[in-house]
């Protein structure tokens, strides 16, 4: 993934320590490091770009105000995604009835995004690839929300099972189960793209 280079341990500790001491430039540098991932995560949770951008602002402000609760600089990424997740869930609660699948994931599809229909069949492979991605995004959006967030964090954000478990506050086995189920569903729905 593109974006600024990941800081080394010393740089990360320095950034976090300075931000916790009230240095706005250090905090802004932290935002620059994580902004693309956080926006993508908010979009995947909310399925509306405009609303995801509003939520992202709330995530930034919450992060600033809660900086003192960050115990370890190494946990920065998990801590930010946790805040993002909470803000997204709060937003969904206010917007409409919270998708049931945040409480009971079986059988309740998440909020659906209106996406363009699958492109006309084309022999051109790049067009086919784009269409496959559109389809995959649609299928991911149709997963139960708890599966969707875990799958996205694992496969799109490359986070470890352990980090995801901390972000979604669920046991490791539950996270593994959700991702495994999501994979089964998605693999099945992607079969026509063989």
């Amino acid at each position: 993934m593109s974006g600024p280079e990941k800081p080394d341990q010393h740089e990360l500790r320095t950034l976090v320590a300075r931000a916790q001491s009230g240095d706005p430039r250090a905090f802004e540098n932290i935002l620059v490091l994580y902004q693309h991932g956080l926006l993508r995560f908010c979009r995947s949770m909310i399925n509306s770009s405009g609303e995801a951008e509003d939520v992202l602002q709330e995530v930034y402000l919450s992060a600033w105000r809660q900086l003192s609760t960050l115990q370890s600089p190494e946990a920065l990424s998990v801590w930010l995604y946790r805040i993002a997740r909470h803000r997204c869930i709060d937003h969904l609660r206010k917007r409409t009835p919270l998708p049931q699948d945040f409480h009971d994931e079986e059988g309740n599809p998440g909020p659906r995004q209106v996406l363009e229909p699958r492109a006309n069949a084309s022999l051109e492979s790049s067009a086919e690839t784009r269409a496959a991605i559109v389809e995959l995004r649609r299928f991911v959006n149709e997963l139960p929300a708890t599966q969707r967030e875990c799958w996205v964090l694992k496969e799109v954000h490359d986070l470890s099972y352990s980090d995801i478990s901390k972000i979604v506050s669920a046991p490791l086995t539950t996270v593994r189960g959700r991702i495994a189920r999501a994979r089964v569903t998605l693999a099945e729905r992607m079969q026509p793209w063989k």
Binding site: S2, H10, G22, L39, L61, W64, V156, R181, A187, K194
Partner: protein, 189 residues
């Protein structure tokens, strides 16, 4: 009730789907070459794996498209945060018969950061300004990382001198204690 165990259980050949999934971008190993079960699962997972990889690659162009938008979101938030900081703690600079002159803690912290950042061989970590022993003075507590090979005593003495000089000249406030803690060593490659 959420079901937690699904297909992450090992295949009948002993491999787990997770294991196979993590190997999909690589050519089949010896086991997979001879295992019809793994071969079938590879085929089943291939379209999903391909689209997922393309999704991640597509994030790069999405990132580029989002850069301006993210800059504007960040700018708005940072403006709010800076306004909040400026309204924060104030310290007494002078007590006169006409009233008390106070200074924003943000100005003091910015001055502290500017001084320490100008000194090579150290990196400023946590830092704070505290009220001094009398109303027109302040104290400081500073944590630093020291670059490997640097003389910590010489540098901390230099930092104290530079801070006292700058705060006296630029702000007109005297510094009481300047507690400096060297908490880490870093290597500047």
């Amino acid at each position: 009730m959420e079901i937690t165990q699904v297909s992450d259980l090992p295949y009948s050949c002993g491999r787990s789907e997770d294991e196979l999934w993590s190997r999909l971008s690589m050519p089949p190993d010896q086991h997979e070459l001879g295992c019809p079960y793994c071969q079938a699962q590879r085929q089943r997972l291939a379209p999903l794996a391909k689209a997922t990889t393309q999704w991640k690659i597509g994030n790069d162009s999405e990132n580029e498209a989002d850069t301006a938008l993210l800059g504007s979101i960040r700018g708005r938030v940072m403006d709010g945060i800076k306004a909040e900081i400026r309204r924060g703690t104030r310290f007494t600079l002078r007590i006169t018969t006409l009233g008390t002159l106070r200074i924003s803690g943000y100005v003091l912290l910015e001055t502290l950061r500017e001084v320490v950042d100008s000194i090579r061989g150290v990196a400023l970590r946590t830092h704070k300004i505290l009220p001094g022993s009398h109303p027109e003075s302040i104290s400081m507590s500073i944590n630093l990382a020291l670059e490997a090979g640097e003389d910590g005593v010489r540098l901390t003495n230099g930092i104290r001198d530079a801070l006292r000089a700058r705060f006296a000249q630029a702000i007109g406030i005297s510094l009481d204690d300047i507690d400096i803690n060297l908490e880490d060593v870093f290597h500047d490659f």
